[in-house]
């Protein structure tokens, strides 16, 4: 380090960021341990009441909702993202590859609000999807997407797709094509090559992408808030409600803290999974 002193200067912004994160985290921890004084924005004395309050059905339900939402979103994102990533990595035409990349990355370029609003238009009772289905006579009355879990999952899948596609594409592009060729020369057809070589070797990538999708969805706010419309409560919408509608900052803080710890726990579990797989030699 002493020989390249400028590196220290390069690192200085990261110290600022780390400081900011640590400060806000400590603030949340501090708030979560303070009593709520109704009618005041300032917290009261030290207490553990906030965490006992969380032991209520409404919060448990929000927790369950969030986990379910994360699960379904991760599952469907994976089911859509894997073929997309595969096509992106393996397409022979460079133009097709960049088209897939562009399509899967556009959600990132739109703001979350704009994107969610578009989904509200598409999924509404008189929205695009219902209009088309009714026009075709497939349904008599509109399907309820708005204010339902289904609608939130659909929008969240779109929201999560880019990172999953990019992560899976990275994993798939690292698979040695000679392994597939070797399997082919040994008599395996395309399906068998995929099932016995490509898929097993992409499992670490799948696990990594799933865990990221999980955390990504867990922290989503605008989508469940707008499409769920208060009917689908998640941790983040509840934090918003408790904190900015009831101004109960201490309870909001403790809710955030529990959510954060849960996310860390989930990521840790996924991580051990990956390390196990690597030990076996899957990648």
């Amino acid at each position: 380090m002493s020989k390249r002193p400028f590196l220290g200067w390069f690192a200085s912004p990261s110290i600022l960021i780390a400081f900011a994160i640590a400060a806000s985290f400590l603030a949340i921890v501090q708030y979560s341990l303070r009593a709520h004084v109704p009618g005041s924005l300032n917290p009261g004395g030290l207490t553990l009441d906030n965490f006992t309050t969380l032991w209520k059905a409404v919060y448990g339900q929000a927790f369950l909702n969030t986990v379910l939402l994360c699960f379904w979103t991760a599952l469907f994102t994976l089911l859509i993202g894997y073929p997309l990533a595969f096509a992106m990595v393996r397409a022979k035409s460079a133009r097709l590859r960049s088209a897939i990349l562009l399509i899967s990355l556009t959600p990132l370029f739109l703001g979350e609000i704009v994107r969610t609003y578009s989904w509200m238009i598409v999924l509404g009772n008189r929205g695009f999807v219902n209009a088309v289905l009714m026009q075709m006579g497939l349904i008599d009355r509109p399907i309820d997407f708005m204010f339902t879990m289904t609608g939130v999952v659909i929008a969240l899948v779109h929201f999560t797709l880019p990172i999953v596609v990019v992560m899976l594409a990275a994993a798939l592009s690292h698979i040695d094509r000679n392994l597939e060729r070797a399997a082919t020369s040994l008599g395996a057809g395309r399906v068998r090559v995929f099932a016995t070589v490509t898929l097993p070797l992409s499992i670490p990538g799948i696990v990594a992408a799933t865990s990221t999708a999980f955390a990504w969805t867990f922290s989503a706010f605008a989508t469940p808030q707008m499409i769920g419309g208060g009917k689908v409560q998640t941790i983040s919408t509840l934090v918003y409600q408790v904190g900015f509608a009831s101004f109960n900052f201490p309870l909001a803080a403790s809710l955030s803290l529990v959510g954060l710890l849960f996310t860390i726990a989930v990521l840790a579990i996924f991580n051990t999974g990956i390390r196990r797989l690597e030990k076996i030699g899957a990648h």
Partner: protein, 374 residues
């Protein structure tokens, strides 16, 4: 294992070829990778495709394997037309440069892979895997993961995996290039032993001329998408038919010369002011005019500088090599101005000494001056 694989007796070689390539060609988006090639590979033959990178040897290998589709031409394996047959039905064994062992399977599972795709029974699979591992001396490594093995061991597993399916042809794609020198020689000997014991038709791709010379029954020297010469290692080394082959395989001394006269067997040339009469083995000799004269270093003999049929030169550098010395000579008639000779270490000469280079009457070859270098 050897008892179950049909062995090739000499009369087999008089029957149909193991691989027949009829005018197979391949281009990639307009760039010709392989000009139409005709080639018959005999049963049990060890044939090497030798050439620099980009010469088309790997393209030809991939066409035989079926990983590439030929633009034109037909390919036969054991008389079966396989041009349109997908790679997984061609019954070909391949050993890749990086071995391409399945990292998520252990050694036994790797070797068993080709038997599982063929729905061989469990008992027979176990027996054949054991035999194949015994063949490459890895019986005790069945439960290991590929990453726990050395490079040489990984290569043996790759070989066992390719052999266990009893392939009609074995393809080797630069399999030794990742091994260090000592191990490489050991593996070459071992592979060659197994190959000839099983009488296995083998196509070997390499850019290493010494590897090609030591292992092959025949060598096809390739450059720029064409087979430039095909023959036994001796024919390729002793009678290269083109300047490219002469310089790519072995060391070569090249002189600028003028061809004055040629008869059916003899050629009269001038190298500088030296007049030489040579008899050559060449199929095609260029027309009289400026030519390139090719001689192997070991065919050149040092004499006095005054002799009329010796090419004059001056010693520039003597490099001691133990049993012999390499003499680097400045020679105005040589292409590039330098000639290299090997002499017994005791006969090494000091720099600046004037010498003559005498050429044998048989051995040198004459190539057209414009004959390509690549």
């Amino acid at each position: 294992m050897s008892s179950e694989i049909p062995r090739n007796t000499p009369q087999d070689s008089r029957q149909h070829p193991a691989v027949q390539i009829d005018g197979v060609a391949k281009s990639f988006s307009g760039t010709v990778a392989l000009e139409p090639v005709w080639l018959k590979i005999r049963r049990g033959e060890f044939l090497t495709l030798l050439g620099p990178s980009g010469c088309g040897k790997t393209t030809l290998l991939n066409l035989i394997a079926g990983f590439l589709e030929a633009d034109e031409g037909e390919l036969f394996i054991n008389r079966d037309l396989v041009t349109q047959v997908p790679p997984h039905q061609r019954e070909i064994g391949i050993v890749f440069q990086n071995y391409a062992l399945f990292p998520h399977m252990n050694v036994a599972q790797n070797v068993a892979y080709g038997l599982r795709t063929r729905r061989v029974s469990k008992a027979e699979t176990a027996e054949r895997v054991r035999e194949a591992l015994a063949l490459v001396k890895l019986e005790d490594f069945a439960d290991r993961r590929p990453r726990q093995l050395s490079g040489g061991q990984q290569q043996r597993v790759a070989l066992a995996r390719a052999l266990v399916i009893r392939p009609r042809v074995l393809l080797l794609d630069e399999p030794f290039s990742a091994l260090d020198r000592n191990l490489r020689t050991a593996m070459q000997v071992e592979l060659k032993e197994i190959q000839s014991r099983l009488g296995l038709t083998t196509v070997f791709v390499t850019h290493d001329q010494s590897e090609a010379l030591s292992m092959s029954d025949r060598i096809a020297v390739m450059s720029r998408g064409r087979i430039r010469q095909i023959g036994t290692p001796t024919e390729i080394y002793d009678q290269p038919q083109s300047r490219f082959v002469s310089t790519f395989v072995g060391d070569a001394n090249l002189f600028s010369a003028t061809l004055r006269e040629k008869t059916t067997a003899d050629a009269i040339l001038e190298v500088g002011s030296t007049r030489l009469t040579l008899s050559t083995y060449q199929v095609d000799m260029p027309a009289p005019g400026p030519v390139t004269l090719f001689v192997r270093p070991e065919q050149c003999v040092l004499t006095d500088s005054g002799k009329p049929d010796a090419i004059p030169a001056t010693v520039a550098l003597s490099v001691y090599q133990g049993s012999y010395a390499e003499l680097h000579l400045d020679c105005p008639s040589a292409e590039g101005g330098r000639v290299m000779l090997r002499v017994p270490a005791s006969q090494a000469l000091p720099a600046g000494a004037s010498v003559g280079i005498a050429l044998p009457q048989r051995g040198p070859a004459i190539y057209a001056r414009e004959d390509d270098i690549a």
